[in-house]
Structure formats: C-alpha cells, structure tokens
C-alpha cells in the first residue's frame, strides 16, 4: 500500500485547467521526483497536497485512508511538510526560535534545542540550534527548513526546486541527507526541472505536461533523453552543437577591476579578463561571488572603484550606460522582470528599451518604425504573444527572455554580457536561448556569459573563468574540463595552479 496517494485530482483556475485527472503515488522510503516545465501544474499539485489550494475533484489517501486537507495546518498534522523555494525563515531569529515558531504548547527553548541537536546529529545535518539564521549560508538554511519538518515529525517532505540556489558541494550534501531520510522510511518529493538531478537522487519520477501526467517511471529504467522528451513532448537537443569559430581580436578587456556593492563591501576584487570576437567566455560561480557586480560594472550600472574596461579601442570605464550602448555593448541582465524589461509596458515599448534614441523622428517616437521593429523581434525570436500591444509582464518567463535576448541581439553590438540567461526557463526555451547565443558567437560577437549552471557553461563557453569571492581563481579551456573539477573550483575547494 502506498504511503501517500493522490487520485484523479482536478483543479481549475479561471480560464485554465491546472491539473486534470492527476494521479500520484508516493511510497514510503522513496524519493519521488515531480518533473515538468514551468506551468505544467506540478506546483499546483503540491500546493493541493499541502493544503494551499482546494481541489475541484479527486481524493487524497494516506496509508489507504481518505483524508481531508483544507489548510497547511491539516497537512502538517497529517505529517506532510514543505520546503518552499523561498525559505520561510525569520532571518534575525535563531534556528531553534524559527523551529518553534507557530507551534502550540509551552515554549521551552532549552528542551527544543536539545531535541534539535539530537535530530541534527541523527541526520548528519550539522546545525547549531543557537545560530542566527542570517549568519548561515543558503545551503545550511535549507537544512534548517528540513530540520523544522523533522522536528514536526513529517513523514512526507516536499521540496520545491531545492537545488536552484546551491553549489555543487551543497547539492551533494543535500542529496546525502535526503538519502538518509529515505532509508529511515520517510517519503520525499522533489519538484524540479533538472533531469540529471532526478537520475542522481530519485527512485521514481512522475512527469507532467499541460496539467496531465504523461509518464511515471522508475529512474533506473529511463534516460535523460526520454525524460526530456516526455516533459517537452518532442525530441530535445540537450547538447549544443558548437562549430569551430576562429577567435578574433580582443573586444572586451577588463583590467584589475574592483567593484563594491550597495553596502560598501568589495565584491569584485581585481578581475582581469579578455573576451575575443567569436568567443564565449563563461564565468562560473555560485551566486553572490561578485558576478552580478562585475556585469553591472561592465555596463556602468554600477561604478568601478579601481581598474579599467576597454571596448575595442575605447576606454569605457567611466562612460554612461547610453555611451556603452552606442559603442557596441549590450547586456542581458539576470533580473528579467525588474531590470531587463518594464513589465507594465507593452512588448513594443519594451522592444526599444535601450535603443529608444534610434527609433525617433525628431523629438517624436517613430511609431511605424517601432511597430516594425517589435514585429520583427517577436517573429525572428519566436516570442509567443497575441500582439505587440500585450504587456510584457503577461509573457511567460521563457518568452520574456526571448524578447530581451532578441532585443539585445538586434542591437548588433560587438560585445554582449549575458547573465543567467536560462534561469528558471524550461528545456524548450533553454534550447532556443542556447542556439541564439551560439549563433551570435558564429557571427563573430564577443560574449561574456555569466551562469550558475555548469552544464550551460560547458555546453556554450570556449573558456570558463571561475569566480570565487570576487576573484578569478582560474581560467580553463572548456574542451578539457569535467563537471567535477569545475564544481570543486566554484566551491573554492580547488584552484587552478
């Protein structure tokens, strides 16, 4: 008898069916992966299980008995716990304070601490219950969330995109913890769209597409290719084909760059790097090691403290953003909805952001030219939208990214800085973003690609610079590099000698 079972779940939102007749069976002592593209309905399904949403029809059974889950409180009482993508921790509270938060009964922090310490040892979580959450690295915060669930004695742990923010090393640690929990007979669901991780850690996988279950298989009887095909509904090319391109002259040159963040902390500490025409230089690193500040400083969205930046023959270190753009630099920022686009404006208005000066007749905007530009953009880059008057905020993440990337590509700049171009995108969109970037490389553009996804860097980049704590700790030729070595380097555990 399965420990947890969802039968014929139907959930409609106005205008969409998020789940149609979804069946999900989770065994005790198993890690179950729920795979699907964004919008496939996997989050909705888990939110129904956790009591966030009510279902329109269907039933949930625990140990074969039907149960009612009307709220997260019911779910917790039934032994179901969830770790959200954004952690629900009070940063200024200690681990033990965070754990007892919301629990009823007598408040005895000392006793709670003792229990937490015991649980932490038992599951090899290495957490000090007295530590303040704000001092803990992301990976440890995630383990605190898991510890919270164990304290409540959850039998089923749901983890939503658990590896999105982790280093390779932290990911391995997480998987070890999850395997330990499984061996004790607990059930675990990980919601993800990363195929390799599923094959690494999960026992079974349920694939969803358009609100329906399109496959439920054992991980031992499947491959990455087959999962991708199930998820997207067609064959997907997960390996980018990189044709040899002759490397040209250095287009973007960075020398001894130092940059501070808003808090005045030095985040970039002496970066020197060249990007040549017809080359993609990748910057690998865990988020927060100075990559964002580096990208912003190159575009002059953030002032540099020391050092210089050259674009072809011009020193651009202290020029304005508009001058950077005019000299041939374009930028695809990591934050698509707040920096790369104005979500309240139309696709047409967003299509000229950064090139608004080129779309004018005297002081007036050239409406016809703008319309043609926007229509060309959505046709050429396959942005799925009803019209160019649609607000950009209504686009899905993948379509918005295609709009931004396409806009920056149409600028035809000699150099491009691209930051986390496929974060949160599904496989189909990733495939097309990759193809566009490689196309730009073939056209002789110089591309600086900042990404936390090692697979992306290994597929696209010619050279990979590893950034750790504001420094470049090694520049490797992408042809002879392994994921393991790269993983160690971005965690600061190994340097290229």
């Amino acid at each position: 008898m399965p420990a947890f079972e969802m039968r014929k779940i139907v959930k409609r939102f106005p205008g969409v069916v998020a789940n149609r007749d979804v069946d999900l069976t989770i065994e005790a002592g198993a890690i179950h992966a729920l795979l699907g593209e964004n919008g496939a309905g996997k989050s909705t399904l888990m939110q129904i299980l956790y009591g966030f949403h009510s279902m329109d029809s269907g039933s949930i059974l625990i140990d074969g008995k039907p149960v009612e889950i009307a709220s997260p409180k019911d779910a917790i009482a039934l032994g179901i716990g969830m770790v959200h993508q954004e952690f629900m921790l009070v940063r200024r509270f200690s681990v033990v304070e965070n754990t007892v938060l919301g629990l009823k009964g007598k408040l005895d922090l000392r006793q709670a601490s003792r229990r937490l310490r015991a649980l932490s040892e038992q599951h090899h979580l290495a957490i000090d219950p007295a530590a303040l959450v704000q001092h803990l690295p992301i990976g440890v915060q995630q383990r605190v969330e898991i510890l919270k669930l164990l304290y409540r004695d959850a039998r089923l742990l749901i983890l939503d995109e658990p590896t999105a923010v982790l280093t390779t090393h932290e990911k391995d640690q997480l998987f070890t913890v999850l395997r330990g929990l499984r061996d004790q007979g607990r059930s675990i669901v990980i919601v993800t769209h990363k195929l390799q991780e599923i094959l690494d850690v999960a026992d079974r996988v349920t694939v969803m597409r358009d609100g329906k279950v399109v496959g439920a298989v054992s991980t031992q009887q499947t491959t990455e290719q087959e999962l991708a095909r199930l998820m997207v509904g067609r064959d997907v090319n997960l390996r980018a084909v990189k044709v040899p391109v002759e490397r040209g002259a250095a287009v973007l040159r960075i020398a001894g760059l130092h940059v501070r963040d808003e808090a005045g902390q030095e985040k970039v500490r002496g970066v020197t790097l060249d990007v040549h025409a017809g080359e993609i230089v990748g910057i690998a690193g865990v988020d927060g090691n100075g990559q964002s500040q580096l990208a912003e400083a190159i575009m002059r969205l953030r002032p540099a403290d020391k050092g210089s930046i050259f674009l072809r023959d011009h020193e651009v270190t202290r020029l304005t953003v508009a001058q950077h753009r005019a000299l041939g630099l374009s930028y695809v920022p990591a934050d698509r909805r707040h920096v790369g686009a104005v979500t309240e404006m139309s696709i047409a208005d967003n299509a000229i952001l950064g090139s608004q000066r080129k779309h004018t007749k005297g002081p007036f905007l050239d409406t016809r030219k703008i319309r043609e530009h926007a229509e060309k953009l959505i046709a050429r880059f396959g942005v799925r939208a009803t019209s160019i008057a649609t607000k950009a905020g209504k686009l899905s993440g993948g379509n918005l990214q295609k709009l931004i990337l396409g806009r920056e590509i149409l600028e035809d700049a000699a150099a491009m800085v691209v930051e986390q171009p496929t974060r949160g995108l599904d496989v189909g969109a990733i495939e097309s973003v990759w193809a566009e970037l490689l196309g730009q490389r073939e056209r002789g553009k110089a591309i600086l690609l900042i990404s936390a996804e090692l697979e992306e860097l290994m597929n696209l980049a010619d050279r990979i610079a590893v950034m750790f704590e504001g420094r470049i700790v090694g520049i490797l030729n992408a042809a002879n590099i392994t994921a393991e070595k790269l993983g160690l380097m971005i965690s600061g555990l190994s340097e290229e000698s």
């Binding site: 939102f13 106005p14 575009m299 953003v321 707040h338 920096v339 979500t343 208005d349 000229i352 007036f364």
Partner: protein, 349 residues
C-alpha cells in the same frame, strides 16, 4: 459553483473601466445622500441644485470654466511628476509662487497685453520650475524624500506670499493684498455675460501638450520608463536623475501657471489664501483621471462644477457646502477602490 469568481487578470477593456468608474461615482453619490437626509433635504433636489447651476446655467457654466482652468493645470503637473516616479505634492506652493511672480511683473511694468502675457507665462513657469526643481535636485542628488519636502515647502511658499502682501507688495488700505493689477494685464473674457476667461484655453493647450509629450515623444517614453522602473531605465541608458529634474520643472511650471491664470483671469490681485486648496484638489482630479492627460479635462470640469454648485446647493437646499468636498473625496475613493471589482466576475449560470 461559486456566484462570484476571481479573474486571472483584471478586466481592462475601456468599457469595463468606464462602467466601474460610473458605478463608483453613483455609489459615492448614494452614500452622500445619507448625509443630505441628516439635513432633512431631499437628495434629488440637493443633487439638482448641485449640478443645475454649474452645468445648466450660462453664468454658472462660466464660473465652472473659471474653476476648471487652474484645476486642469495642477492635475497636469501632477501627471508629469508622478508618471516620472516623482511623488510631488507641492502644488499649493507652486500656485502661490506663480501668482506672486505674475503679480509682481504686472504691477512693476507697463507692457502691452501681447508683450506682457508671454513674459508673465515665462517668468511664472521659471519660478514654479525652480521651486519644484529644488526638491527634485535634493531627491536626485541626496535621495531626500520628495513627498515630505514638497509638502513642507508649501508652507514656506504660503508664508512668503503672506509676507509679500502684508509688506513689500501691500496696497494702502485695511486688507493685506496688492493693488488691483492693470487692466491691460487681465486675461480676456471669452463667453459674453460670464466670468469665463482665456485661462481655460491655456489649460486645454497644456493638456494637449502634456499628452503629446508623454505619449508621442522620446522624452516622454524615457520619463515613463523612469517612473515605472528606475532600474530598467538605467539599464536602457536613461539618466533617471535628469528625467526627474525635467519632470519636476514641468510640474512646477504647470502649477505656477495655475496661479498665473487665477491672478490674471479671476482675482486680478494677489492676496493671502489665494489658492483655496486648489493645489490639492488638482491632485485629486489627476487621480480621478487616472493620470491620463486628456481625461483630466472632464474630471476637472466635474470637480470645478461641483465647487461652483456647492454654493448654490447651500443657498437653495440649506446644505453646508462642505458636504461637496466630502462627495468629491468619496468619488475619488470609490473610483480608486472600484479597481477591485474588475478583478472578479459574476457567474449567473
């Protein structure tokens, strides 16, 4: 099945928006009717009095236009500044500064009307632009809070004018006010038999100009991007600080023109308390028009008319004219709140 269900995205067709606004205005009037009954007045008669005079009598309509002109200009100033993300509230100040600058020019020179008017508009605009520009500079350069600073500067401006009319610019006599401005500086009256003056034409031109600026020009595009998302604006190579200062200049200038129009068209002299709160009512008009420069005109006519009708209502139905202000505020509250209804649909099946 639920009777009312939430829409995925709010209904945003013009019909839905207009319906929601009209229903909201009617709801506000319904609530105000309850206040009327406190005075044993028949709400229908009261509303007749409120709307008959300003919209159905020739003389009253003239007054309506007199009130509409400054309201429109201030609402336009609000739109330019708020659209750029500059939450300026200092229009009372701009109004009196503009009125003072205009009065000074009118009293100290003897130009013919067609020489005087452009000069007065220029001087007044510059004075208002400087007044609001200071706040924008503080915000752009040092990150000061423009809402607080601009509100406080209203009092500074009002006190400066108080000083001027009781000191340097005071005319002989018992009341702190300037002498009557020379007739040659007065704005021409445009409707025979009424006090309606050419200020309304200036307001209409300004509305058209602001509409063109925001909708059709590159500067307007950059200004709106700056307001919606400063980060995206900087990413697009827009100098957000400069946009802010530019918007503040326009806002201050438009606010000062409201003062100019009031002095040259209606009061014909500078006195203490000349603004009568129009610097705030204008902001309300802008909100009612949802920051759309063309929608400002009907909104300002409605509000200007209600101000005129309030006195008639007091005379005829014995209802305190201040209830009109309650009604005006309720309409804005209801219209802003009506957005929530566009997020739901009623299912009758």
């Amino acid at each position: 099945m639920k009777l009312i269900e939430r829409r995925v995205s709010p209904a945003d067709s013009p019909l839905a928006i207009t319906t929601a606004m009209v229903v909201a205005a009617l709801a506000a009037m319904l609530i105000t009717s309850l206040l009327f009954t406190l005075y044993q007045a028949n709400p229908l008669q009261a509303y007749f009095a409120l709307f008959h005079e300003p919209f159905a009598s020739w003389r009253g309509f003239g007054y309506t236009l007199v009130r509409t002109a400054p309201l429109t200009l201030i609402a336009l100033g609000t739109i330019v500044s708020w659209r750029s993300g500059f939450g300026y509230l200092g229009f009372e100040g701009c109004f009196v500064i503009g009125a003072a600058a205009t009065s000074w020019l009118a009293l100290s020179t003897t130009f013919s009307f067609w020489t005087f008017l452009p000069l007065a508009l220029l001087l007044s605009f510059a004075a208002g632009a400087a007044w609001a520009g200071v706040v924008a500079l503080i915000r752009a350069r040092f990150g000061g809070n423009e809402v607080l600073i601009s509100l406080m500067m209203n009092y500074v401006a009002i006190l400066i004018v108080q000083y001027l009319v009781s000191g340097p610019m005071r005319a002989p006599g018992g009341v702190p006010e300037t002498a009557l401005l020379p007739r040659a500086t007065w704005l021409p009256f445009i409707l025979p038999g009424t006090r309606a003056h050419a200020g309304i034409l200036l307001a209409l031109c300004a509305a058209l100009l602001v509409w063109v600026l925001l909708r059709k020009t590159r500067i307007g595009y950059e200004l709106i991007v700056s307001g919606l998302s400063p980060l995206a604006a900087r990413f697009g190579g827009i100098n957000v600080g400069a946009q802010l200062v530019f918007a503040a200049f326009c806002a201050g200038g438009l606010g000062a023109w409201a003062g100019t129009v009031e002095v040259l068209g209606e009061q014909h002299r500078l006195m203490d308390g000349i603004s009568g709160g129009v610097g705030f009512t204008g902001i309300i008009v802008a909100l009612l028009a949802r920051l759309n420069p063309l929608a400002v005109i009907p909104a300002a006519v409605l509000y200007g008319g209600m101000t005129v009708g309030a006195n008639a209502m007091q005379r005829r139905a014995g209802i305190p004219s201040s209830i009109t202000f309650i009604l005006q505020s309720l309409i804005v509250l209801m219209v802003l709140a009506s957005d929530i209804f566009r997020r739901y649909r009623v299912k009758l099946t």
